[in-house]
């Protein structure tokens, strides 16, 4: 192939153009024109469309696996607690904001001097933050 870029990494824009040309030139294996313009849908919408699509089908058997049905169920085991700051076992909990902590040092040095909002960031790491809408 004539378009093989040199090994030395490119600094010239010529080389970039050559690399880009691999993709953008007309291809022998494809019709020369672009097919229909596609609408961009975010994943959330793709999933909700899928749910609607599944509901519209009437004769699906109850145990047919679908995108939504293969999602793992919640855990039934007792939840273990960990320190939100360090990840060590979190025996204690600050009643003011629900942050868990390992020992009194973490509480005194970190949690008590926390700037506002940081506690929510820590809680957000385990999805326990308050989301204002």
């Amino acid at each position: 192939m004539s378009t093989t870029p040199s090994n030395s990494g490119f600094s010239t824009s010529e080389e970039i153009h050559l690399l880009s040309n691999i993709t953008t030139r007309p291809h022998t294996f494809k019709r020369p024109y672009k097919t229909t313009t596609r609408r961009y849908k975010p994943t959330k919408q793709v999933i909700s469309d899928e749910v609607k699509y599944l509901q519209s089908k009437e004769n699906i058997k109850f145990d047919t696996p679908t995108y939504t049905s293969v999602g793992a169920p919640p855990s039934l085991k007792p939840r273990k607690h960990y320190c939100d700051i360090t990840g060590l076992p979190g025996k204690y909990k600050n009643p003011a904001n629900g942050l868990r902590f390992y020992n009194v040092e973490i509480y005194q040095e970190v949690i008590r001097n926390m700037p506002p909002g940081v506690d929510q960031e820590y809680l957000g790491l385990r999805g326990a933050n308050v989301i204002l809408k």
């Binding site: 192939m1 293969v70 990840g87």
Partner: protein
């Protein structure tokens, strides 16, 4: 201390993604009709013709589209080519949004690019090769529809078939795979999600498969969040490639998470657990020349600084002199006043009460008490003033009493010149007297001190033990006071604490008083309206020492001063104890007990690893070398070792915390069961739960197969063995194995499978697609099921 002699820790640099040495290869052996196997993963894209045993192209599923303004042309750069130029990296995008493909234009571009690299050529405007490709388990209908459209309409491929990546990986790793009897429990970790799929009698049992929404991408995002919160002021930015590489290189699965976690930060464990990550900074990025220039300019400024300091000192001296002069004048005035009033006091001795009263009023005092108070105050302030100035008494005090010849001569015997001179002399005489008195007072004090010392020495000689005990109890008293005050000071920080509220109340009452409220004191004050707060005769404030606490309650500054005083007292007593008490050592001092013990500080070890704080270390080293001289803050800040350390992160607990999420997803707030719990539930409840030979569960546990990129983490297999053994019946024949090459094995499975009859029977042809529509697939053992 052992730590200072420890070897330096091994340092890992933050790894960037590099472009591979060789450019993306072009395939030399293209043939029409040979199936193309294609694994379109959300992390990496693998494609190759199945007449080769390994994929021709493996590259990250990334695309960068940007406009070259000079050439006025849109450019599209894909895969590893992106890393060839740093300016392109910033605009990279993925066709995936989370687990699903959302941008099909990008997919088309990537396919164009990869078909070109496979050297696909065609005379009829079609890709004349069958396609075998991967898809996630239970993929949404719209995804497959888009695939069909893309391949059948854009590329017009003759036929296509889909399968599940982790099942292909299992297929590749199983010799003599029997499509009728293969049994396995496949755990496939992916970039966006993790699947657990039982394979029963050669078929992936998708009705019992489960998906955990956690994979490599979430792990690296979580890692990046953890690190940015652990080091909020980190000087250089951590990008997503760094985070991905940290997770890949340094994480490992803990064999027993709970146990390992408990002692993870113990010094002996931390030494091997702690990973130091070094970000690039000016020092190691080779900017030595600019550094030298910096140093020179700094030297120059140092001279300037010296000059400035000199200037400032001179100014200070002048100000001091002025202030001293002023103080002296005031002192003299006070002395004269004091003399006058002490004479008056002597006079009072020969008078009766009423006469005294009258005299007082004549002198513009309210009463005798007022007079006494005033004189007492004057006395106090005089003593204080004398003490202040007694140190520099030598300069002005060389005059003798004989010099002041004019002082005792009445004014009417002097001319104007002499009167002026006399005034001056009187001033000087008073000054001299004041100094004399101060000297005397000081000498008295010294005498007292000497006597006290003698007493102490005598006491020590008599009963050392008793003396020590008393001193120690004194020391303990002061230390309790200090801790109490420190606590009080601390509690002021909290707006809601008792102390802070008491303080607010005090301020409120004071403010109220000034506004003239109905409180008792203010009523009294209004009765004698001409008396201000300063000379109110009924005001006995200050007679009791505790009254002054009112001010202390309001300003915290005095509390700090007191703390300082107490600290001085502690030092003094400790110095005495160190000198005389043989049982009292440096380790017993208050200071030593307060000293930061980093080896026992969880937080220090978590953030700074198993080494002493570099600032403290440098300071102690410097003070040892240069007799207690400490480094300047600026010097410290630019110290190469400090700069280096500031660009370091310590990756310790996170090493096991991040992989653990696959086992306990709720650590990251994901409300799903972990892979072990799901497997247990599957083996015991959703399958037959029969662990005797012939049972479904029995067959499955003989081949637990781990696929996907995350199983490259060390200990993944042994953790699975540990956990499975704990819930399986005793003696169950558990076997766990891992894909040989977790990234490429899915492609290899497709390649191997493409030779089989099953594959031949699973293709959907263009004609079938046209007839049945996009919902139609042919089911096979390694693929999804049709909706029905």
């Amino acid at each position: 201390m052992p730590s200072s002699t420890q070897n330096p820790q091994k340092i890992y640099s933050l790894r960037e993604n590099e472009s591979p040495a060789s450019p993306e290869p072009f395939y030399q052996n293209y043939k029409e009709g040979v199936p193309i196997a294609l694994d379109l993963g959300s992390s990496s894209f693998k494609i190759g013709l199945t007449n080769s045993t390994s994929p021709n192209n493996v590259f990250p599923t990334l695309i960068s589209r940007f406009r070259d303004r000079k050439a006025n042309k849109s450019l599209t750069i894909i895969g590893n080519d992106i890393y060839r130029d740093s300016s392109i990296k910033s605009s990279t995008k993925s066709p995936f949004d989370g687990p699903l493909i959302t941008n099909w234009d990008y997919v088309e571009d990537i396919l164009d690019y990869s078909f070109e690299h496979l050297s696909v050529t065609s005379s009829n405007g079609k890709v004349n090769n069958p396609i075998i490709m991967t898809e996630p388990p239970c993929v949404p209908f719209s995804q497959r529809k888009n695939y069909y459209e893309l391949f059948f309409e854009t590329y017009q491929v003759p036929k296509i078939t889909f399968g599940i990546d982790s099942l292909f990986s299992h297929y590749a790793n199983t010799d003599n795979y029997n499509p009728k009897t293969a049994n396995s429990l496949v755990i496939g970790t992916g970039h966006e999600s993790t699947h657990i799929i039982p394979v029963v009698d050669g078929r992936g049992l998708l009705s019992q498969a489960k998906r955990i929404d956690w994979g490599g991408s979430q792990s690296s995002q979580y890692c990046s969040k953890l690190l940015s919160m652990k080091y909020p002021y980190f000087p250089s930015k951590l990008n997503s490639n760094h985070a991905t590489n940290i997770v890949q290189d340094h994480c490992y699965v803990s064999n027993d998470f709970q146990e390992e976690l408990k002692n993870y930060l113990d010094m002996e464990n931390l030494e091997k657990n702690d990973v130091v990550l070094q970000a690039t900074n000016e020092l190691n990025s080779g900017a030595a020349s600019s550094n030298a220039a910096n140093a020179e300019s700094k030297k120059k400024s140092e001279e300037e600084l010296k000059r400035q300091a000199e200037k400032r000192r001179e100014q200070g001296k002048r100000l001091q002199l002025q202030a001293q002069q002023k103080r002296l004048e005031k002192l003299i005035q006070k002395e004269q006043e004091w003399e006058y009033y002490s004479n008056l006091k002597l006079e009072f001795e020969s008078m009766n009460k009423q006469q005294i009263q009258a005299r007082c009023v004549q002198e513009e005092f309210e009463s005798v008490e007022d007079f006494n108070k005033y004189v007492a105050n004057l006395d106090k302030s005089l003593k204080k003033a004398r003490n202040e100035d007694v140190g520099d008494g030598e300069e002005g005090g060389d005059g003798h009493s004989g010099q002041w010849t004019l002082v005792d001569i009445p004014d009417d015997q002097l001319n104007e010149e002499q009167i002026k001179e006399k005034r001056k002399q009187r001033l000087m005489k008073a000054n001299f007297d004041a100094r004399e008195r101060a000297k005397q007072a000081k000498a008295e004090e010294e005498e007292l001190l000497r006597k006290f010392e003698e007493e102490q020495a005598e006491w020590r000689a008599r009963d050392l033990e008793d003396w020590c005990a008393v001193k120690k109890s004194e020391l303990a008293d002061i230390i309790t006071k200090i801790t109490e005050k420190a606590k009080l000071l601390e509690s002021f920080k909290d707006r809601k604490s008792m102390a802070a509220q008491q303080r607010m109340r005090n301020i409120a009452t004071l403010a109220n008083d000034e506004n003239g409220s109905t409180s008792a004191t203010s009523r009294k004050r209004r009765r004698n309206a001409n008396s201000t707060i300063d000379n109110d005769p009924n005001d006995t404030f200050g007679t009791n020492d505790d009254d002054w606490n009112a001010y202390r309650d309001i300003t915290n500054a005095s509390l700090e001063e007191q703390l300082e005083e107490d600290n001085q007292a502690v030092l003094k007593i400790e110095a005495e104890l160190l000198l005389y008490d043989p049982t009292f050592h440096h380790e017993d001092t208050f200071n030593a007990s307060q000293k930061f013990d980093w080896e026992n500080s969880t937080l220090h070890k978590f953030i700074h690893g198993p080494r002493e704080n570099i600032l403290v270390k440098l300071q102690t080293e410097s003070s040892q070398k240069n007799d207690g001289k400490l480094l300047e803050p600026e010097e410290l800040e630019n110290h190469p070792e400090v700069v280096q350390r500031n660009h370091q992160m310590h990756f310790n607990i996170e090493r096991i915390r991040i992989p653990e999420i696959l086992f306990q997803p709720n650590i990251a707030g994901l409300d799903q069961a972990g892979i072990v719990e799901i497997s247990e539930n599957l083996l015991y409840h959703r399958l037959d739960g029969n662990f005797q030979p012939g049972g479904q569960s029995y067959n499955l546990i003989q081949d637990v197969f781990l696929a996907g990129g995350l199983v490259k983490w060390p200990n993944f297999e042994s953790r699975i063995i540990n956990e499975f053994t704990s819930f399986l019946p005793v003696g169950a024949p558990l076997k766990v194995r891992r894909a040989k090459d977790p990234i490429v094995d899915a492609w290899k499975g497709m390649q191997k499978w493409s030779q089989t009859e099953e594959c031949e029977n699973s293709y959907v042809t263009q004609a079938e697609y046209d007839e049945m529509g996009p919902e139609y697939i042919k089911e096979h053992g390694l693929g999804n099921v049709c909706l029905k």
